[in-house]
Symmetry: C2
Subunit: 241 residues, 2 copies
DNA sequence: GGGGAGAGATGCCGC
DNA sequence: GCGGCATTTCTCCCC
């Protein structure tokens, strides 16, 4: 355990990626307050001093600290305290370690960033280029633009030259999406003193959301934009297993 | 590498918590599509077959799969493919491993659940017991209840017996919170054909949200409820470092 | 399994 | 820094 304290402190110092398992308790105080009774967990401390505590099941960390956390290690009679604090965020995490399972610390070389396709930005980009997929005659003149009216996905005119606001959702439209569109439409309508239409575009919509949408005179268009990740290496046959 | 394939397959079979580092590429296809060029990362496969891929910086996994993923390992000439698929969710992740840094696999014993205090539920519980913190004379008759009107945090009457809906937020009230309250108020108002008040309760509110709130005749009450995590072991001196 | 809503949400971009 | 908003959001609860 003495050895462990030494190892952990120098690993943190060197900015390595640190992974270890331990029987421990966890206490958190910050935006909320939490306690996790004794059990075996996986603890990760990264080079930016972000911290993750993972239980053996579940994809989300049970506790965590953001990058910039300071790490202090204190040896007790029968345990080691790892005191993690982020004073700027006023968040504190304390691990009381009773047994260490394994420990690894190493430099990981990785400067690459993930390339992602199929997000909402891509969807509105595609609809901007292919507006007839929303409605015949719809002509957008702005896209993802911070207008004085707010952050409108697509803003344009329909075939009758009526101002039309389009809100895109990647998945199912819910009540919140309808109120969001309503907020945009009302803001623009109040400003231009003319009729303004609202269209929600998404693969599907929940029954409640559709009812509210109709009540407000908005419309829904079901659209499933194609995924597209352009890069030299063909990916077409990678997911055939 | 041959050895690694064997180790990984049997570790997955035994439901262990598996952690290893590898120089690898990552490809994802599912709700979106993603590619991560070659670099050194940390990979975690848990007993429920949830999968996490972590880069050396940042608290969020760069790629992941939910519990119930099936794991297949294929040996190539110069690399190992780990093919992760979740057919029910139609999500696929592929790791191409070129070098393994370290590998650990072990059973972690942990059945404990986290105890959390200071969430919105606790806040509405506290306000239900101490309604004068919202407004003199406010008397709630339901709390966090799934009424026919929706999920109202607090529902009651004010000192003039006017129906009053209270929406609690743990942090700053934003535009979405105001439209949410508006949706509740309108639904109840339409049903009872009587005036209905709306009150937002939170530590603070953004200027835009406050403007919209006032426009609709709702009110805001700044309240900071105390954190409280009741348990035998006193925590009062644990965060003094 | 879907809908609805909170989360110690996180992360991104804008002002 | 806050605000506004998407997220491969995730998680929980309830129908």
């Amino acid at each position: 355990m003495k050895d462990f304290q030494q190892k952990l402190e120098s690993a943190v110092q060197s900015g390595h990626t640190i992974v270890f398992s331990a029987r421990c308790t966890v206490d958190y105080k910050g935006r909320a307050e939490a306690h996790l009774p004794e059990g075996e967990r996986l603890i990760i401390i990264k080079g930016d001093r972000s911290v993750l505590v993972h239980q053996p099941l579940g994809s989300s960390p049970v506790n965590y600290m953001k990058a910039g956390t300071s790490v202090k290690v204190v040896k007790n009679a029968d345990s080691i305290l790892v005191i993690l604090s982020h004073d700027a965020l006023r968040e504190y995490l304390e691990l009381q370690l009773f047994d260490i399972g394994f420990f690894d610390s190493r430099k990981l070389n990785d400067g690459r960033k993930i390339e992602l396709a199929g997000d909402e930005r891509g969807m509105s980009d595609w609809l901007f280029e292919n507006p007839d997929n929303i409605e015949q005659g719809f002509r957008p003149f702005s896209r993802e633009e911070q207008t004085k009216y707010g952050f409108l996905d697509l803003f344009g005119t329909d075939k009758d030259s009526t101002l039309t606001i389009v809100e895109c959702k990647r998945y199912s439209v819910d009540l919140a999406a309808v109120t969001q569109l309503r907020r945009y439409v009302e803001r623009v309508k109040a400003d231009v003193q003319k009729p303004v239409r609202g269209i929600l575009v998404a693969p599907k919509i929940s029954p409640n959301a559709e009812r509210m949408l109709r009540d407000w005179g908005f419309s829904f268009k079901s659209v499933q934009p194609p995924l597209r990740l352009d890069r030299s290496k063909s990916q077409s046959d990678l997911f055939q297993y």
